[in-house]
């Protein structure tokens, strides 16, 4: 059903749960690496980031949310699916805001978990693609995209960058084509996913 090269990391301190999840995911065709703590996972820093990280919220010492934060800081971006033993709404909100793909409650059915994993992998892949495309933009195109992401009019962007409005329009068309965006709204979404438009340019 899935690509056998894709590796999923499971971090859960309960050995029974770890083993059962590993078994289920392997059965679904993923490669699985299991860790009993956040620290054990961080110790594998050199390994390529997994396609998806299944993370228990309540881990001893550094907990799930702490690990998520740590990974964001170090730029190791894998999509994260959180599991929790009980529905803790404040924590789930916090996790999603920090970029988690999903937040599931144990015991979790395969019919819920596996699609969530697939979606996370897809999302991860999409984001990776976007990042690749963004890296291919020219310096001027990136500046223009940032301005658009901040919701500025072409005229304002032109004034900010010291170029004429016509040139801005030209760059914008190129950018839309580059990201295969069909509308201004779609472009705004892509910019947001790339983390642009959050701070004004100086």
């Amino acid at each position: 059903m899935s690509d056998g090269d894709q590796t999923i990391a499971v971090v859960d301190d309960d050995p029974d749960v770890r083993k059962a999840l590993t078994r289920l995911l392997r059965g679904d065709g993923y490669g699985v690496e299991a860790f009993d703590s956040a620290e054990a996972f961080l110790a594998q820093a050199d390994a390529p980031p997994p396609a998806c990280l299944i993370l228990d919220v309540n881990l001893p010492d550094l907990d799930g949310l702490g690990l998520q934060r740590r990974l964001a800081e170090t730029g190791r971006t894998s999509p994260i699916v959180f599991l929790t033993g009980y529905g803790d709404i404040p924590k789930s909100v916090q996790a999603i805001k920090a970029g988690a793909t999903d937040f599931l409650t144990k015991p979790v059915k395969a019919a819920v978990l596996l699609p969530a994993v697939r979606a996370a992998i897809a999302q991860g892949a999409g984001e990776a693609q976007l990042r690749e495309r963004a890296a291919a933009l020219s310096e001027r195109e990136r500046e223009v995209l940032e301005g658009i992401a901040q919701g500025k009019l072409n005229k304002q962007v032109a004034a900010d960058l010291g170029i004429v409005e016509q040139t801005v329009k030209f760059h914008r068309a190129r950018i839309m084509k580059h990201f295969e965006a069909n509308s201004a709204a779609e472009l705004m979404l892509i910019a947001a996913k790339l983390g642009l438009g959050r701070k004004p340019l100086d």
């Binding site: 309960d14 029974d16 289920l24 015991p107």
Partner: protein
């Protein structure tokens, strides 16, 4: 034959006397018991004799090691003084004490001393004699005394009498001294000048010596307020007429409107107020002290050197005269002898009575003794009766009933409750065997089927007895109240336990969901495997095993929780404290993790088990752990540390829970155990109070203390049964 028999009888008698004499001559050497013979001049009933006897007996140094026996003989000499009687009496004493010769003889009164000294050759010639109650004047005819006859003579205390008179009449300004004109009288007056000199500052002293009685009476009649009379020796008046002191005193007292004092016991009753005179009890005491020293081995000669000059004195007063002159009873010294406080039969019918009394004396003693005995018996019976009556009243007032119990005889009436029978029988049997008191509470079933609680207290009737005596009381009401209170306490314990568990709901859900999650994922993995060819049977079997294991984990969690949620008590059992601590920490693990509390455990291996109600003990641990976590709410996340320790300490198992919170702020850390003491917004403040009551019901202690650096430690100590 007859003559021969008579002669042999006589010789036997002689032999007996010889043996008796030899016994007298050599007092039983090494005899442990010392013997003192007291010879009283008077009859047994004379107050002076009784007083002297008391003084003697109370002061004789008799002990277990050295017992002293006191024999008393009352000679009644002033009334029976015929030479025949005295001879007979001397012989009587000789024979009576032949086998138990005295070690010391005490004579009380001069007549007895005279009798003894004059008959010394027959009566105990080698036995030392101590005389008491003998006036110096009466010693004169038998002086000089043998060196082994010692004593303190009685001397009349003129100065003491005058001092007494002046104390009782503080307004007196003149002291009139009245004495006779005989040579003895003059001698006394000459001495008086010196003796009374100290009073010259206080009063004017005037002497009325050697006057004829009519002249004396006239001058006395002229006395007025402010005068006090001191009457002394009066053998002859100035007209050459002889007087008996006592009669002269009667005349003087009758003539004088002023109070008359005299130092002679014999003057009391003539109208004289009183005076300071020899004390018979004091003389007895003094005699006893001399006897003690003689018995201890002192020689009479050595003691004679250090004897005081005169016998001790006391105040004696004629109460009728004292009242006449307005002397208050509170001014009379406690040891004073008060005479004529009420007029006696003896006084009113003296002449008639004197003959009859002499005849009846022996009978009177006998009857008296019988009366005393009867009265004592009646008193004892009355006391017993009263004691029983009081006991009955007390028992009724206290709703007590009395009982006796004999194992051999089955009890009637109410039936012992079967549930308590074994214990009651065990306790009563033990009380019968050991003689210890027994105290029990048990149920009985009344004939109408009602069950009542009784509290009984009993004791074995006598050593080796087969019967228990005791009291019992119906305590059903108290017992019901106790049971109700215990039910309330149990309900409160349950409520706080459930409320603590409520705080742990997230943690509990986590604990349950873990195994459930494992089961679900395993089952679904198995379903995936079932859809593949070929079937991986080994893997499927392993999955089934894992499911079973996870399932029992879930069941365990639920079983433990059910126990904690269950209402009602379970019996005590030996509990592994470490296991219970780990179980408790497992229950709180998620909660602690969520609160970022680091958990450190130091559990001593091989702890003895403690007898405990598992759930209650776990409630204590839970409460302490949760309190510790609550206490660290304001502590920096990285510094929140909870340490749980267990160790064996003497006969105890100790469990301590420490935190790194703000510590106990109360001035008295003990107050955290008070009900309703809380620092939490939603707290009832019952947790620690209940914890302590639980620990105490397990005969343990729960203490709190602030740590030296930061935070607090709660320590539970539970007694471990000896292995």
């Amino acid at each position: 034959m007859v003559g021969l028999a008579g002669r042999s009888g006589a010789s036997l008698r002689l032999a007996a006397i010889a043996i008796a004499l030899s016994l007298i001559a050599w007092p039983a050497a090494g005899a442990d018991i010392k013997t003192v013979l007291v010879l009283y001049s008077s009859t047994r009933l004379l107050p002076a004799a009784i007083e002297a006897d008391r003084g003697l007996r109370e002061n004789l140094a008799s002990s277990v090691d050295q017992p002293v026996e006191l024999y008393a003989e009352f000679l009644d000499l002033p009334r029976f003084d015929s030479p025949d009687f005295i001879q007979t009496f001397a012989r009587y004493l000789h024979e009576k004490y032949a086998e138990r010769p005295p070690d010391v003889i005490v004579t009380a009164g001069s007549d007895a001393l005279v009798l003894l000294v004059r008959n010394r050759t027959e009566l105990f010639p080698d036995v030392p004699v101590v005389y008491i109650a003998t006036t110096k004047a009466l010693l004169a005819p038998i002086e000089p005394l043998p060196p082994d006859v010692i004593g303190v003579p009685v001397v009349y205390d003129s100065a003491g009498t005058v001092a007494l008179a002046l104390r009782w009449h503080p307004d007196a300004n003149r002291l009139v001294v009245v004495a006779g004109g005989s040579p003895q009288d003059r001698e006394v007056v000459d001495r008086l000048h010196g003796e009374l000199a100290p009073f010259a500052d206080r009063v004017q002293i005037e002497y009325f010596p050697a006057l004829g009685m009519p002249e004396l009476e006239k001058r006395l009649a002229a006395l007025g307020p402010g005068d006090v009379v001191f009457a002394t020796s009066f053998f002859m008046d100035g007209d050459g007429r002889a007087w008996i002191g006592k009669e002269a005193a009667a005349k003087i007292a009758a003539a004088s409107p002023a109070p008359v004092y005299a130092p002679f016991n014999t003057y009391i009753g003539t109208g004289v107020v009183g005076g300071r005179m020899p004390s018979f009890a004091g003389m007895g005491k003094q005699g006893a002290e001399l006897v003690n020293q003689l018995l201890a081995g002192a020689t009479p000669q050595s003691l004679a050197a250090s004897l005081p000059e005169r016998a001790p004195t006391h105040v004696e007063v004629d109460w009728r005269q004292a009242r006449r002159f307005g002397i208050r009873e509170s001014d009379v010294p406690a040891d004073a002898v008060i005479q004529f406080k009420e007029p006696t039969f003896w006084e009113e019918y003296r002449g008639v009575a004197i003959g009859g009394i002499a005849v009846m004396a022996v009978q009177a003693v006998l009857i008296g003794a019988l009366l005393v005995e009867r009265r004592q018996r009646q008193r004892t019976a009355a006391a017993l009766d009263e004691s029983e009556r009081r006991m009955g009243m007390a028992a009724r007032a206290a709703a007590l009933s009395t009982w006796s119990w004999e194992p051999a005889r089955p009890a009637s009436g109410a039936r012992l409750h079967p549930a308590d029978r074994a214990e009651v029988e065990k306790a009563t049997r033990r009380a019968l065997e050991s003689g210890e008191d027994v105290s029990l509470e048990y149920r009985v079933i009344r004939p109408d089927g009602e069950v009542r609680w009784l509290a009984a207290y009993g004791r074995r009737e006598a050593a080796g007895g087969a019967r228990l005596l005791g009291v019992s009381r119906d305590v059903t009401e108290r017992k019901q109240a106790e049971l109700a209170a215990e039910q309330d306490r149990a309900a409160l314990r349950h409520m706080t336990r459930v409320s603590t568990l409520g705080q742990l709901s997230a943690s509990i859900a986590h604990q349950l969901n873990q195994p459930l999650a494992a089961i679900l994922s395993n089952a679904e993995a198995a379903r995936q495997l079932l859809g593949r060819e070929p079937l991986d049977l080994a893997e499927l079997r392993e999955i089934c095993d894992d499911i079973v294991r996870s399932d029992s984990r879930a069941v365990d969690v639920i079983r433990r929780l059910t126990a904690l949620f269950r209402r009602g008590e379970v019996p005590r059992e030996p509990v592994d404290v470490n296991e219970l601590l780990l179980e408790t920490l497992e229950l709180t693990r998620t909660e602690l993790a969520m609160r970022h509390v680091a958990l450190l455990t130091h559990l001593a291996p091989d702890l003895p088990r403690v007898d405990a109600e598992r759930v209650q003990l776990q409630q204590v641990f839970l409460n302490l752990v949760m309190n510790a976590a609550d206490a660290m709410e304001d502590t920096k996340e990285t510094e929140r540390e909870l340490t749980v320790r267990s160790e064996a300490n003497g006969g105890d198992v100790r469990i301590s829970v420490s935190d790194t919170g703000s510590g106990i702020s109360a001035r008295n850390v003990e107050s955290v155990f008070d009900p309703f003491w809380t620092t939490k917004a939603g707290g009832m403040g019952m947790g620690l109070a209940i914890c302590r009551s639980i620990v105490q019901s397990h005969h343990g202690t729960l203490m709190a203390a602030n740590n030296p650096d930061r935070g607090a430690t709660f320590c539970v100590a539970l007694p471990a049964p000896a292995p």
